[in-house]
Amino acid sequence: MEDLLQVLVSGLSQGAVYALMALGLTFIYRSTTVLNFAHGENFMLGAFVTVVLIEGGVSYLLAVAIAVVALLAVGVLIDKIAFEPLLERDHVTQVFATIAVSFVIKGLVRRVAVDERGVPPLLDVEFIRVGSAVLNPQHVLTVLALVVVSVFFWFLFLRTGLGRILRASTQSLRGATLVGIDVRTVFAAMWGVGAAVGAIAGILAAPTLLFSPDMGARPLLLGFAAMALGGFGSFVGAVIGGVLLGLIQIAAGFYISTTLGDLSGFLLIFLVLVVRPEGIFKTSESTAA
């Protein structure tokens, strides 16, 4: 029983990280139809900024807040430098531009931070006991963060005027332009928000990984997997797909074998894309890639 609870919580927290990655990717994908291959660098930069600030004596919470805002700015910057000028160009060029951005960011970080380093956990508590089960507080926190972020965006999208504008532009750019929405501003906002959500994923996952300039590569691919699993371009699908992916990975690793646990995410991508390319949860809002 305690096994089950532990597997559940660490699976959920792993899944929450993938879900946040997928969410960040989906913000950009839905508004611009570009798959952002530099999104792993948002993950990495979020962790990087936080670590640097903490090492400089800033309190953890303040460091996190600064990192998220900084990444918001980075996202807008990427939009202005590498996406907006290519608005009229084909997808391959746009994708290559995001790859170029990923290259540059990794290189810049590698220039300043040569060695890998550990990242302290957010809470000082060693573990949380629930009955006889021992839970990692970082895991619990990660799951809570996903819930908060999801509810926040759900509220923003469905309950505010700003959300109506954003939804309109993700449904039809032409239509949005016709009713007077400035789509360029919407793009910039979506790049910013996407990057910030990626940063949150990085900050939450960093204590269980080592910081390195390349740490974003694997979460990026698993973020793609979560998107594919839940139905490309669907916000709800991204969250469900991510959580499911995390649960399957941890459960397969715990109950069957570590090898299968490591590989299950990738095998799932094969399976989903080959058997059911539209995702397991095909929703009306998910779109073809």
């Binding site: 590498a82 290559f96 531009a97 540059v104 960011i105 040569v114 490591d262 080959v274």
Partner: protein, 319 residues
């Protein structure tokens, strides 16, 4: 048309001749550098088929380059097969992987194909590292200098020997790919790149067309890897990951996506640049990323395409 062909053949012959004189005039470091360049010419010519000509977003270069290297390295170091056999095995092995994997993968559109090919790269990387007995393990394995049956069982240990063998392989690849471009299959690739519905309406089997481009690229990438592993004398899993993939994109985009000559020029320029920048951590990434972005923003036709267009307009103005 015939005049154009002979013009091209003459250019190719001239380049071959100059390249053949290379080791006589260049110092050892540049001879070594050019052996690497030749391997990348094969890689770039092969990758360009699927990405540039058929327009499929297949993120496959590092995976198949690595798989060819693994097959060839394993065959020579474990079973001591002659180098020629290892090259054929690497090529065929990659082609078979490309056929079985591609049969499922090429049905997927755009980003889905990108993701699933990336996944293959990660699964291969994981296998090399974690199934050590069969695959070699994290630190890979040593590849002994293989014997060449055609050279009477001699080993090609000197850079000069490798230079000439690599040159021959690169030129053979170039000629074959150049010939491929004139076939109906390649015309089909160009149509599906523009518009798959038009291609279907013209009676082109879109699936087979996509698959054939995928398999041709797999085979050539495999050949490049099978040869490259002999130059490296070691198979290292980390050499065939994300960095390699991005570097290969860069080669094609800088040269001009879809242009065979551009791919060759890109390979020459970037392999040299990479070797030069190797000692500065992070710097090559910044510069390569910057160049990739700058080319995407300002030089859509790639360097070769732009320069070639200048020359053409110049010649027309003179004539």
């Amino acid at each position: 048309m015939r005049a154009l062909l002979t013009h091209e053949a003459a250019t190719l012959a001239a380049i071959t001749l100059v390249a053949a004189l290379g080791p006589l005039v260049l110092n050892g470091y540049y001879v070594y550098l050019l052996t690497i360049v030749f391997a990348y010419v094969i890689l770039a010519a092969g990758f360009n088929v699927v990405l540039g000509w058929s327009g499929q977003l297949a993120f496959m270069s590092a995976a198949f380059f690595g798989f060819g290297a693994w097959v060839s390295g394993r065959a020579t170091s474990l079973y001591g097969v002659p180098a020629e056999v290892a090259l054929v095995l690497g090529t065929v092995g990659a082609a078979v992987l490309g056929l079985t994997f591609g049969a499922l993968a090429v049905r997927l559109a755009r980003y889905y194909l990108a993701i699933v090919t990336l996944t293959l790269m990660y699964v291969l990387d994981y296998s090399y590292r974690n199934f050590a007995e069969l695959m070699g393990g994290v630190s890979g394995f040593r590849v002994r200098d293989p014997r060449f049956a055609l050279l009477g069982g001699a080993q090609a240990t000197s850079d000069t020997d490798r230079y000439y063998i690599g040159l021959v392989l690169a030129i053979l690849t170039y000629v074959v790919v150049r010939w491929l471009r004139t076939t109906p299959t390649a015309r089909g690739w160009r149509v599906i790149r523009r518009d798959e519905r038009v291609a279907a309406a013209l009676g082109i089997n879109v699936y087979l067309s996509r698959l054939s481009a995928f398999v041709v690229s797999s085979a050539l990438l495999g050949l490049a890897g099978a040869w490259f592993v002999f130059l490296n004398t070691r198979f290292l899993p980390e050499a065939f990951g994300m960095h390699e993939l991005l570097f290969d994109f860069l080669i094609l985009v800088v040269g001009g996506l879809g242009s065979l000559n551009g791919a060759v020029v890109g390979a020459v320029l970037l392999v040299m640049a990479r070797e030069y920048l190797r000692t500065f951590p992070g710097l090559s990434e910044i510069l390569f990323g910057g160049v990739l972005l700058a080319v995407a923003l300002f030089v859509p036709a790639g360097l070769y395409g732009t320069v070639a267009a200048r020359f053409r307009s110049l010649r027309e103005r003179v004539a």
